[in-house]
């Protein structure tokens, strides 16, 4: 479904050039959830933004459903691929009602039956019609993230690109949103790419994941290998140790993994 081959992203030029993504390749099958894990600055979100068309300065080959992607994406692309962002406070227009937020993609794509689509999308994310005419500030963080998911789903996409969808939420709300994403994926046969710094969230959602550091994929592994504490690379092992909780003795063994030249 999704193929990324030799993806490079460089910001700036000359001496100020920052090589944010270096030669990243991975494949995601239809109906699969694929995780991208890494610390801040590892390039994981940049890969997602190149895929979603938010970033034009990439080189390499990107394919979705066997179609090669160009720099600019048409409406047909966005009908198929939608994105959910980290911050539900920043990704919804503060002066638009939920109704208007959901109606906008429907009218851009000239879809019929807007009324029914909006009600169905609200229902599907567990909000219901009483939220339809509220403004974002009248919603909690979890409810806003549900609206953002509804906005992505209203076009009936095949691929959802999720950038830290639950890291701004309390853990009890995170559980509800993750369950919602799992259910929608099952019901609609969607393909997900989930970017997160949280290994536990990725291991829960995805069967396969890639670990990134300094713009490179350090290692691709299955969630099972992670559960068995059997990553091959030292970097992944250290990330796993740190994710399992505080251990004074382990901290002294931490190394710095610098970028390879």
């Amino acid at each position: 479904m999704i193929e990324v081959e030799s993806l490079d992203v460089v910001f700036g030029r000359g001496r100020n050039a920052v090589h944010a993504v270096r030669d990243v390749s991975f494949h995601v099958a239809e109906g699969e959830s694929f995780g991208l894990v890494g610390e801040s600055g590892s390039g994981k979100s940049t890969v997602l933004r190149a895929l979603s068309g938010l970033n034009a300065n990439w080189t390499g080959t990107l394919r979705i459903a066997d179609q090669k992607l160009g720099r600019r994406r048409g409406t047909a692309f966005f009908k198929r691929v939608q994105m959910v962002f980290q911050d539900p406070y920043g990704s919804l227009h503060p002066r638009h009602t939920v109704d208007r937020i959901l109606a906008e993609p429907v009218s851009i794509h000239r879809l019929d039956n807007g009324e029914a689509r909006i009600l169905r999308a609200l229902d599907e994310v567990g909000l219901g019609p009483k939220f339809r005419f509220r403004y974002p500030h009248q919603l909690s963080g979890g409810q806003r993230q549900r609206v953002a998911i509804a906005r992505a789903l209203i076009l009936e996409p095949k691929v959802l690109l999720l950038d830290e969808p639950t890291s701004a939420l309390d853990v009890s709300i995170q559980a509800e949103v993750l369950n919602l994403l799992q259910r929608i994926k099952r019901e609609r046969g969607l393909t997900y790419i989930l970017v997160s710094h949280n290994l536990a969230v990725v291991a829960h959602m995805c069967a396969r994941l890639a670990v990134m550091n300094h713009g490179e994929v350090v290692e691709e592994l299955t969630a099972e290998a992670l559960r068995a504490h059997a990553p091959k690379q030292a970097y992944t092992r250290q990330l796993l140790t740190a994710s399992l909780g505080y251990d004074r003795a382990a901290v002294d063994r931490f190394e710095d993994f610098a970028a390879s030249a």
Partner: protein, 289 residues
């Protein structure tokens, strides 16, 4: 709630019946409702979701509740001084010098137009040390080394925008620790950091507690982290303390809220088709521990 075990003798801090209220257009909001606990020279975790009152509790101890908030307490006793009744001069002698606080985001806590080393040296001189500039600088350098900054010379001369988030938080911690406080209140000090850096920063705090006998109040939303890092944990919900546990035995917690929070965390080791969600009981807001 009776204050549980301390590592030695009299508590360093004891808070009795703390209430913090904020008047709003729709009436009084009680952010903290009758919280009592005490702390020895140990690592005490305060855990809760957003809006549980954990940060408001931490700020109220230091008298940092923003107006128009009102703080009431039977007493907040710090080493024999009741902070609710102390005059401003004696509060000044305690705040910063004997109790200090680290906030979540170093970007907003550091002065953007002053070299970070000078800020640390200033903290040393401001809190009752009769020290010259040279001595303050030497002490600031030592402190930067103590928080494991590898190149203290360079970092001393850097401005806050020139350092990373993890480095910024270490600088904040250096600044808060240089007066040698007896109590450090850390409000989500590592939430904005990457996991490995987070663990390194926690190790610095841990060493300060074990080597210098400092007391630490560690405010966090992360149950697993607190369970592995702290000695004791208070679980807050709706402005009250629901439960107090030994951190090592947090996983045996009794209260349905604590159990619910623990269960809804995804785990690397246990795969689950679906995460159990938390069913909130309105009675939790009424009872408290």
């Amino acid at each position: 709630m009776s204050a549980a075990a301390h590592t030695n003798g009299t508590p360093l801090l004891s808070v009795e019946d703390l209430t913090v209220q904020f008047p709003t257009r729709t009436g009084l909001v009680e952010a903290v409702r009758g919280v009592s606990f005490s702390l020895g020279r140990e690592k005490l975790g305060i855990v809760g979701e957003s809006g549980s009152g954990k940060s408001v509790t931490g700020r109220a101890i230091l008298g940092l509740t923003p107006p128009p908030g009102q703080v009431r307490a039977r007493k907040i006793d710090f080493d024999g001084v009741d902070l609710t009744r102390a005059d401003k001069a004696s509060l000044r002698a305690i705040r910063g010098a004997r109790i200090s606080m680290v906030m979540q985001d170093p970007k907003f806590s550091l002065n953007p137009v002053m070299r970070v080393g000078d800020q640390i040296a200033e903290a040393y001189r401001a809190h009752g040390r009769e020290a010259g500039t040279r001595e303050a600088k030497t002490r600031a350098m030592e402190m930067l080394e103590a928080v494991r900054i590898r190149d203290p010379e360079r970092v001393y001369a850097a401005y806050p925008h020139e350092v990373s988030g993890g480095m910024g938080q270490r600088i904040m911690i250096a600044m808060m620790l240089i007066p040698g406080p007896d109590l450090l209140i850390a409000d989500e000090p590592t939430s904005a950091l990457d996991v490995t850096v987070q663990m390194q920063v926690l190790a610095i705090l841990d060493d300060m507690v074990s080597e210098r006998g400092m007391g630490l109040i560690f405010i966090s939303h992360d149950l697993n982290l607190v369970a592995s890092f702290c000695d004791r944990v208070l679980i807050m919900y709706g402005g009250r303390i629901l439960e107090v546990c030994e951190a090592k035995r947090l996983h045996e917690a009794r209260h349905p809220y604590t159990r619910g929070l623990l269960n809804c965390l995804p785990s690397i080791d246990r795969p689950a088709a679906q995460l159990p969600t938390l069913k909130r009981d309105p009675a939790w807001l009424e009872l408290g521990a």
